[in-house]
Symmetry: D2
């Protein structure tokens, strides 16, 4: 599907790009360090098929935490709300995404929500399938359908790099095993989780997936229901309350678009009934969100009144 | 303004009332203990002036934490976003509303958001006025305008009762004085805060105020702008991310109506562009929200698709 | 009683004094800021009446946290172990002396030990007497007896200075009122507590009090029992496990002398059956202990094998 | 070496045994569940070779946390204080032995002391040796020397049982890897650590090791120095400040004997210059210490004035 460069969007991207100087590329995942901090690209996908873009939209990015929304949707489709929310809570938290403190202090121990690492690991452990490979295939298949792009795969290099250094995630997993939240072998779960995080796509694909959420779960072209409407609603809610790490509250107030960010610098935005947004800008602010990506969304939200509030 | 009893609403209220048996009336504020735990009343106010109700809508309730949204609006009108959010953050927190832990653990010390007690106290300390009396008058005047009811006052008995036993709030205030977040004399601030919490109205008034927020800040009848639209947006966002104590996340997922609850059992709901809701049901769940009130909102949201998500 | 300057002690003090450059005078209590950071003086009192000293031993210092041991002894004499340890625990804590976090996180809420501020405030609230004045007189009388010096009083200036800015202590008190640990009016308690902390004496007096503890509670000259032996044992134990703020563990390992420090820069040391030590060195390390005082005790402990371990 | 049953000790053991009814056997390590909760045995070893005992002194117990003192001694002998205390702190903590919270909240991340699990794991990771087997042999060799018993080994069953379910310890290890405190492969370290915890001996052996610490590190019979005196002093200090989990403070106040307990129900006591104590009583109090063992030590301490304070 072609996507046309837009002068208006180019102008906004150019303006937002200035902020890249104040951020820096994630360095705790070795393979991400190579990105150019000054990159910023964006795509906007409309339900009628119109797509506009700015910047290098062929560049591939890994989903990282953006994948948490997609596995949440899949787990909800596999098990239903009741079972999923037995394992993971609904509440936003002011703590960092990789914090372990509340798992110990809260009784019974339970990850506060599915967007922090602990919660996302618990959600991935619920994805059905007989082997790690099967489960990964199911995730990939689901993502490919959402993006309408069967060529989407994952970066073995990024997955390997994360897998090796995922000490905090291992700590979270073992802590949750102690409390019966995770019941499978940790190394396998981490393999699956790091591959899920390493799923690779362009910001066009990202915008296309955002559009599915914006259209209540329907494929924008075939109208086929890819995600039930109720599950879309749950996912959008978490994007608002917990989508931008521990800056979600400020994002909701200032920008108000259901969105999910990843430390790769990607952001998927959902403007209900209007369009999907995909952004890639690897320079991050200190909370782990794309610094220029946030700025771009802020400008878009103000200019076009995109806040849901 | 008359408000008509509605069969449909009566039926829902009757259904929701069953849940009162599982909750209990707040006992930490002595004056609230007298309420009948089995009460449940509700009013819905439409922009065209239609008002429907169920239950005893003449009964007066105190605002308690519902007042936090109103003083936030007033402080934002007094100072603007930038200054207010220097003193108080934007982020939801999984902690209880009266928690002091994060004030110590976060550096610099700052209440996470204006809906927890620490943040609300910091907001009230920003309300302009030369004396405690002036400041209280300004708050009352603002609330009266929003409700279109000049007779609204506060319950001296409830205010006195809370003032005497407000030890945790005193602890929060002194902690914030240490860190420069509050700079005025604590006993005066607490007098103001407990009177603000003791402002008394019916659930009709509450629904009427909810309607103002639903109509982007305009008086529903005169169309006079009572609160700037941008400030309304900020307030609605906090109602979604932090309005129901540490059950806000679950409320957003399951119900999705911007709302604010108080330990008196009141809930103010805002259905954007449609109507305002006022509920009174003093039996609380373990997180401090009206147990039957939540149930009623859940039924309303499902039946009439009220979720903003 | 005369105290003779000692060449050996002078040499050690001179050596230890070098470390004053790395510390700084407490600045959170305004009246303490005036001290000369390069001061260091010390006195050692033997049971046979011999006293040796080095530095300006006429200089007066306020007890600050050193007073916590003395009020603990008095409260134990007033009520016995059982009642005292209903209000306050026995356990050391790795947290700073003014931390409020554990009061909230532990259930039931209780200060972990009598040497942190919360615990010391709870202990002072147990000191018997009909008025604040009576209770202060009882504390002063007790301290005067221990030091054998009827002229000991408190610094009104330091007490006033601390009283005005004691916001954190007020927060701790109100938090404890909420939980029934403190039951008296907070401002009165704080007046008493800040005066107790402002009790003023020389390092000779301090060494003399240390000697009483070293002699199992007996007046070193009259042999009159001033503190029961069992209570002395309890106090010495807390000096070892919690006497040096959150550096108590390291102090026990490296130095091993029961001791209590104050943010004035004073340290009282107890070498069981041998002597009492009084030190004054206002430059503090980052944990609030006299930096040169610690060094001096370390040198003394090594040279004369003073560790109890 | 023979050990004679003592009427006096038998009487005390009989008295203390009554308290077993209030405790329960550790159930989180499956292999420990089999112990008889009503057991209580004790041995006291004097420097002149006299040994008195009560109860079934042939019964073998695993060291569990008691081993933490022994590996601390060995690591200090391998590396010296400075290097060991770069990895692990000196400070007691009011938190449970298996808590992970402070590792996240303290900056830089570092286990507070070598007696909590995190600290003990960091210490074991410092034990020198080319392979896990070598390192285990070194630990066993050291323990055998201390006990004067070359037949001491470990229980493969207990080690296996703990290894399989050591999820919290795995979480602690991975958290510490993230922060560079542990740098070796976690599964190997846990194998070593669980085997160290599963070292098996009688309470006679335990008393004999306690005696070595009581005699400043010398073999009680050959007088050969087994542990340098300075390291013994460090170990005894930690036994006092952190030896009884988060009941160490109360134990120091009420009993005052350097001691270390394990969840097997073992306690090793050290009465400096007098004797060593070994106790086995598997019923634990809620903090993980042998409930009757504590009572026995309390009676011994009172009767024979054993407190070091």
């Amino acid at each position: 599907m072609p996507c046309y460069s837009s002068d208006k969007l180019n102008a906004l991207v150019k303006e937002a790009k200035k902020y890249t100087a104040q951020g820096k590329v994630a360095d705790y995942i070795p393979a991400l360090k190579k990105e150019n901090p000054h990159d910023l690209s964006a795509a906007i996908f409309h339900p009628d098929g119109r797509c506009i873009s700015a910047g290098d939209v062929d560049q591939k990015i890994t989903l990282q935490s953006i994948s948490k929304v997609l596995t949440l949707a899949l787990a909800l489709m596999d098990y239903g709300e009741e079972q999923v929310f037995e394992k993971v809570g609904y509440e936003p938290t002011g703590d960092p995404f990789n914090s372990i403190v509340k798992l110990e202090l809260y009784n019974p121990s339970k990850p506060l929500n599915p967007m922090i690492n602990a919660g996302a690991l618990a959600v991935t452990s619920m994805i059905k399938g007989e082997t790690i490979e099967n489960r990964l295939e199911r995730i990939l298949d689901f993502v490919q359908k959402l993006a309408g792009d069967r060529k989407i795969g994952y970066s073995q290099e990024v997955a390997d790099s994360e897998f090796k250094t995922a000490y905090l995630n291992r700590a979270l997993c073992y802590f949750m095993m102690e409390h019966g939240i995770i019941e499978e072998e940790v190394e396998g779960l981490l393999e699956l989780y790091t591959k899920q995080c390493a799923i690779e796509m362009t910001c066009l694909d990202l915008a296309r997936i955002g559009l599915v959420f914006a259209m209540d779960g329907a494929d924008p072209f075939t109208k086929e229901p890819l995600i039930p409407r109720d599950i879309v609603r749950v996912c959008k809610t978490f994007m608002v309350t917990c989508g931008m790490y521990n800056a979600a509250g400020e994002f909701a107030v200032r920008i108000g678009i259901p969105a999910k960010s990843g430390v790769s610098g990607g952001i998927m935005g959902v403007v209900p009934n209007r369009f999907g947004i995909g952004i890639f800008g690897p320079a991050l602010d200190e909370k782990g969100n794309s610094i220029a990506g946030l700025k771009l969304l802020e400008m878009l939200s103000e200019k076009y009144s995109l806040s849901i509030f």
